[in-house]
Symmetry: C2
Subunit: 436 residues, 2 copies
């Protein structure tokens, strides 16, 4: 395992999510459940993240409504929200999901490019192919196109967007008041006539400040990883523990190398943190949120995941032992996560419900600023992560705790920047600006 270069730093991203990543966060008496449609709330989150010198914040996106009974995520559309948030901040990067299955490349290139102009070069695009039939059925499809087809479209989509961003040369605009505004030879058609898209171009927007806004990807499948390896400039990962993170990290870095790329491509696993000045305080914060979970509904859901009736189980006793993965006939991914939590943490039933309610498959760190920084350092030096995608269980308190307590500890150790050194998201991630 290659040692980190001296001075090499972590990258930190805030995954913005309503009242937090714990499903019951909105139920907490102190939550901002009343402010989920209030842009000033998101602006205040962005300012906290910027106070912590984070590389970026991230707005996920979906195209259907999900469960409205048990909280509801999409009170604002990400691109419009991020535009406002860019004006409340000066340095932090702003990453939005856009689905290649439901947008056209021209809209995506233009919306993201415009946001890059508005924010002065701070934008990233998380390329997703979407998942649910309910999303497809809001955009003219009877059902979601098959996985392979979605990824084929995604690749052509990304290529087209990149070509559109490149359709204006950096020096196209002359603004010669006695002559011409721009040089028409430096504003070129792209004439993309592919399998999925016909786009003549050029884009009706000058080249974005970053050249290309940063491409982010979070693919888990082999197709997803390959797309990420070929195009992504930063990657969101899911890793329950360091071992899983290392395996993913090695796999992606070797795919990136195989694709002939030398860009750093930081890999950022999701990270749920409960921070306290003592372990007890951290555990109490976790317990406070877990106690907000509606027990019956959570038990019913757990029952579906493990295909057993657990309504009679004792909430405060250890979870009974579960059949091994090989004997389980339902969906494997979630069941494997549950098995892992039960085996490695020996939780009570109530604790298990809480862990599943807050980024189940992602890494969770509970402790003091020092113990969490230790653990993050271990992942960083162990090459499980180039940084983390922070998923605070509750917002704003969870990101305030992190920024005010963990960030200073990371800074003391020289693991995180004291001040922004760059003005763009590319700069924060250590990425070159493409020549075009």
């Amino acid at each position: 395992m290659k040692a980190r270069n001296p001075g090499e730093k972590l990258h930190l991203n805030l995954f913005v999510m309503g009242n937090g990543h714990h499903r019951a966060a909105w139920r907490h008496p102190d939550s901002c459940a009343e402010r989920l449609g209030d842009i000033a709330y998101y602006e205040s989150l962005a300012r906290i993240a910027e106070r912590g010198k984070l590389d970026a914040l991230f707005f996920a996106d979906g195209m259907s409504v999900g469960s409205v009974e048990d909280g509801f995520h999409w009170h604002l559309e990400p691109l419009t929200a991020l535009s406002a948030m860019s004006r409340a901040t000066r340095r932090i990067g702003l990453i939005s999901t856009i689905s290649s299955t439901f947008y056209t490349p021209f809209h995506a290139a233009r919306l993201v490019g415009s946001l890059d102009h508005i924010s002065g070069g701070r934008v990233g695009w998380n390329v997703v192919t979407s998942m649910f039939d309910s999303e497809a059925r809001n955009h003219g499809y009877a059902a979601m196109p098959p996985h392979a087809e979605r990824y084929a479209r995604a690749e052509e989509f990304v290529q087209t967007v990149l070509a559109l961003w490149d359709s204006w040369s950096d020096d196209a605009i002359e603004r010669d008041r006695q002559g011409r505004y721009a040089d028409p030879d430096k504003v070129r058609q792209i004439d993309h006539h592919g399998e999925h898209f016909l786009v003549d171009g050029p884009l009706n927007l000058p080249r974005p400040p970053q050249g290309n806004p940063v491409l982010v990807q979070a693919g888990a499948s082999s197709q997803g990883r390959d797309l990420a390896a070929r195009y992504a400039e930063a990657i969101y990962a899911v890793a329950y523990d360091l071992e899983a993170a290392q395996a993913y990290y090695r796999d992606i870095k070797s795919r990136v190398a195989a694709a002939g790329r030398t860009a750093p491509v930081p890999i950022l696993p999701g990270l749920v943190t409960y921070v306290g000045s003592t372990m007890e305080e951290a555990r109490a914060k976790q317990r406070e949120l877990d106690d907000c979970l509606p027990v019956e509904a959570s038990l019913r859901q757990l029952g579906l995941f493990i295909e057993q009736d657990c309504s009679g189980w004792d909430l405060d006793a250890p979870v009974p032992s579960l059949p091994p993965l090989a004997e389980f006939r339902g969906p494997q991914g979630r069941y494997a996560t549950i098995l892992r939590i039960v085996e490695t943490e020996q939780p009570t039933l109530r604790e298990l419900l809480g862990r599943l309610a807050a980024g189940g498959g992602h890494c969770t760190m509970i402790g003091t600023p020092e113990s969490i920084a230790d653990e993050m350092e271990r992942w960083f030096h162990g090459r499980g992560a180039d940084g983390f995608n922070l998923m605070p269980p509750s917002l704003p308190s969870g990101i305030e705790d992190f920024v005010d307590q963990v960030v200073p500890e990371l800074q003391r150790r020289g693991l995180f920047r004291e001040e922004y050194e760059a003005a763009t998201l590319r700069g924060h991630f250590g990425l070159e600006r493409p020549a075009g």
Copy 2:
């Protein structure tokens, strides 16, 4: 002609356009040509318009690049720009064009709805069907679909967007921390399975603050006028003089009545103004911009419009008389405008080029605050207009002149509000909030 109610007021909208509506505005030595990609520039325009208590400002939109040599309009995408501008203002309405030919109803409903949440109920949507093959060829079509087909799609598009905005009841959200977040019976599928769209819904966004963001339309054709009559809540018009405005006004109001609607539906003809403390000063401002026009290119263009070679004509002599409309074999619309300008204004060739370069077919008023207010009053009382869509030939100076000189004169006459009386765009336009 029905007299205006006492206290009835004009509606004023600023049509934001790069450095102004005069094609040569960017060439003026004092222009902000360097700031066309700078969101702070648009925010400052919005603040000036709000200082003038205007009802709204409007961002047009197109899906292809147009002439990059002779200025270039689309430095920012309207929805992302308006989101930032909403945070720099408190009361003014914010209207964006979205094309029903190139978006999906779900995206349109969501983007506009999100902006309505972000702005606290100040958003309007100008429904257009788009025009150019170059736009179609950026979105997968080989050429623009025929006019009738575009309007059929537009109508189904509008119906679907309205249904999506209505898919959440106003009281759907309960936020019962011990119970449920929202009442699932008040968040309904729309199950729209029409000729052009399949959209199950519901929208993944609670009902917008205005219920429906305000629908605006600018159709000129019979189909366009009918769409406007059935759905529009404000209308942008093109009228060269009061007579043309009255004819359009009568036609639209009777179509609105025939559609069984009683909403006010303000009609706002475009208005280009050159304001000075004397007529000479106003004319000098016009001349200063006209002098920025590149003469050869303008003459070449005029030659195409009138199908004559006018390169040898004397710039400072009156335009020679032109053949009557009936004898002209080229495109009629533009030629008719040219004939009208020549007949009613007896311009020099240079003046004609200037008039065509700044909102040719729209009304132009040149004069003092008093004379312009007189004329606006005549249009208002003569029922040619319920207000105006201001198209300043240069920005920001043209809107500053209007706000600082004409608005106070209109206020003195009781023709325009002294302060905002409402918090939403619906409120400014005197429209009810739909019950849903």
